[in-house]
């Protein structure tokens, strides 16, 4: 069940170009390793600059020190506790945001009245910078968890809404007519035609949403939080701990990557029909 082997990620252009290069018979690293060589090179140069003294450790800590700090933070459990607090906020906030975006998109996409009520409202609201809502949310929900969760929920609902709505509207009319001649009623049409057709768009929206969630979280956690990566970041900034800051940036990156990987896995599972891979 090796699904990865089914997808050939090499773009056709590159494939065509690399056919000539292959003949030169140079040494070749496996693709997966080659992908790491760029970032690795950056880290090596960074370390060199630090060792030679061109980079001040108070401005930017050298990679070796960052790794050591990271290890210490993991060992002491500080990082784990705070990362978990952040992840929980993202998951809960995104759960609310994604589901409400989806419900609104279905209502707006399927019913004329829904479109009139929902779509204009959503398009108006989405132009507001979400972070500017923070003061209001604190006034409404107090200082604890709720304003952070609500902020993430709002930030994640828009991408899901927009992408799902437009793909519901973009369903091939030929398929809708075919379904009608096959005797599908309204419910069957939604279940067997419209929702499956909107799934790819929804997943694109989901990816944007999770990216947004982490973006908003950083700032939400720097205000009135006693736990979480944003809180750690604010603390580190206060004490000029550039090593901790870099560790946290890396953790943010990794968590973002993790979320992306989850959505990609979902896509692979849910959209098999696009590639025609039939073995499960």
């Amino acid at each position: 069940m090796d699904e990865a082997s089914v997808i050939d990620a090499t773009p056709p252009v590159e494939k065509a170009l690399s056919q000539d290069r292959g003949k030169l018979g140079r040494w070749r690293l496996p693709r997966s390793l080659r992908r790491f060589s760029g970032p690795l090179l950056v880290i090596i140069i960074w370390q060199l600059l630090s060792t030679v003294g061109l980079l001040n450790p108070h401005t930017l800590a050298p990679p070796i020190q960052v790794v050591r700090t990271g290890w210490d933070l993991i060992q002491s459990g500080t990082l784990g506790v705070n990362a978990w607090a952040s992840l929980k906020r993202v998951l809960v906030g995104a759960a609310f945001g994604v589901s409400s975006g989806l419900v609104l998109a279905v209502l707006g996409g399927l019913f004329r009245i829904g479109e009139d009520l929902v779509d204009s409202t959503m398009n108006m609201l989405r132009t507001i910078p979400v972070l500017a809502l923070e003061p209001l949310l604190i006034l409404w929900f107090g200082l604890g968890e709720p304003p952070k969760i609500v902020l993430i929920a709002i930030a994640t609902s828009f991408p899901v809404y927009l992408n799902t709505f437009s793909s519901i509207r973009g369903v091939d009319n030929g398929l809708v007519e075919a379904a009608q001649t096959l005797g599908l009623g309204r419910g069957g049409l939604i279940r067997h035609v419209i929702l499956p057709a909107a799934l790819p768009g929804f997943l694109v929206g989901l990816r944007y949403s999770l990216g947004n969630a982490w973006l908003v979280l950083v700032l939400a956690e720097q205000l009135n939080a006693y736990q979480g990566l944003g809180y750690m970041l604010a603390q580190a900034q206060e004490y000029f701990q550039t090593n901790v800051i870099v560790v946290l940036l890396a953790v943010y990156g990794l968590l973002g990557l993790l979320c992306d990987a989850v959505v990609r896995l979902l896509e692979r599972r849910l959209l098999v029909w696009r590639r025609g891979f039939s073995g499960t």
Binding site: G174, L175, E177, A178, A179, Q180, T181, L182, G183, L184, G188, H192, V193, P196, A197, L199, V272, W273, R274, R275, G276, F277, S278
Partner: protein, 260 residues
């Protein structure tokens, strides 16, 4: 505008009423009148081909019989068991072949019936395939199975072979002929391919200027061959009805054809 739709034609007496009875069917889009009183009856297990130039309204007429166009007026009597095959297969890409075939059907044994239909079109080994992996001909055969499994009294075909290559089309023609011989539905095939109409149909009608302008029974024995001189003759007649003159043909151009 008034539409009288009477469904369920069950009478099977010695003088069977037609499966399709259309009288004075009109349809206009804005000020443009596309159908201006179409009269057409189709008998039990009769195969009717409808020819017409593009824009003649033949697809509109088919859509009215399919129930996809509900803004027509006139008298239309139809059986409730109808099935469509369109020019494109229109399979749901997210459903495997068998699930596409049985889509919209309920009850026990539906999958088995679906498999039976796939067997008839020669695709039983593809029941778990995704539509994207099918060739054009295979996809259209799946669409045909999806129509047949509904046991239609009326099969509506909208240029179903128009998008296929010539070789596949020949094979689809014989497949359709075989299937019709077994299942005996009434068929309305809309096409602009004169040869296809003569090969398959019991009766050919021409739609022009919003009406049935020509109606002829095809008296040739099956299987029909294009080399048959009577085939040739019928082709010339139909082409000139459509306002097309064959090169080298001595026939005159009718004033009606010039007016179009």
């Amino acid at each position: 505008m008034e539409t009288r739709l009477q469904r369920d034609v069950n009478g099977r007496g010695p003088e069977q009423p037609p499966v399709v009875h259309a009288l004075g069917v009109r349809r206009s889009f804005g000020s443009r009148v596309v159908l201006d009183g179409v009269d057409l009856d189709i008998a039990h297990d009769e195969f009717v081909a409808m020819l017409g130039r593009s824009g003649s309204g033949k697809t509109t007429f088919l859509r009215i019989l399919s129930g996809l166009d509900t803004d027509a007026s006139g008298e239309i009597r139809l059986p409730s068991a109808r099935a469509n095959v369109f020019q494109e297969p229109r399979l749901m890409p997210w459903k495997r072949v068998l699930d596409n075939v049985v889509l919209g059907l309920r009850g026990p044994g539906v999958k088995e019936k679906g498999r039976q239909a796939l067997l008839e079109v020669g695709l039983v080994t593809h029941e778990q395939a995704w539509p994207i992996t099918l060739s054009g001909g295979e996809a259209q055969r799946t669409a045909l199975a999806r129509a047949l499994v509904r046991e239609p009294q009326l099969l509506l075909l909208d240029e179903p072979f128009g998008a296929l290559d010539a070789l596949t089309r020949i094979r689809m023609h014989s497949l359709l002929e075989d299937l019709c011989r077994v299942h005996r539905p009434a068929v309305l095939l809309v096409t602009h391919d004169v040869d296809e109409a003569i090969l398959l149909a019991d009766r050919v009608v021409v739609l022009a200027d919003g009406r049935i302008s020509f109606d002829i029974r095809v008296g040739l024995d099956r299987p029909r061959i294009r080399r048959d001189p009577r085939f040739d003759e019928l082709r010339s007649v139909l082409l000139s009805e459509l306002g097309v003159e064959e090169r080298g043909s001595p026939k005159r151009i009718t004033p009606a054809a010039l007016a179009d």
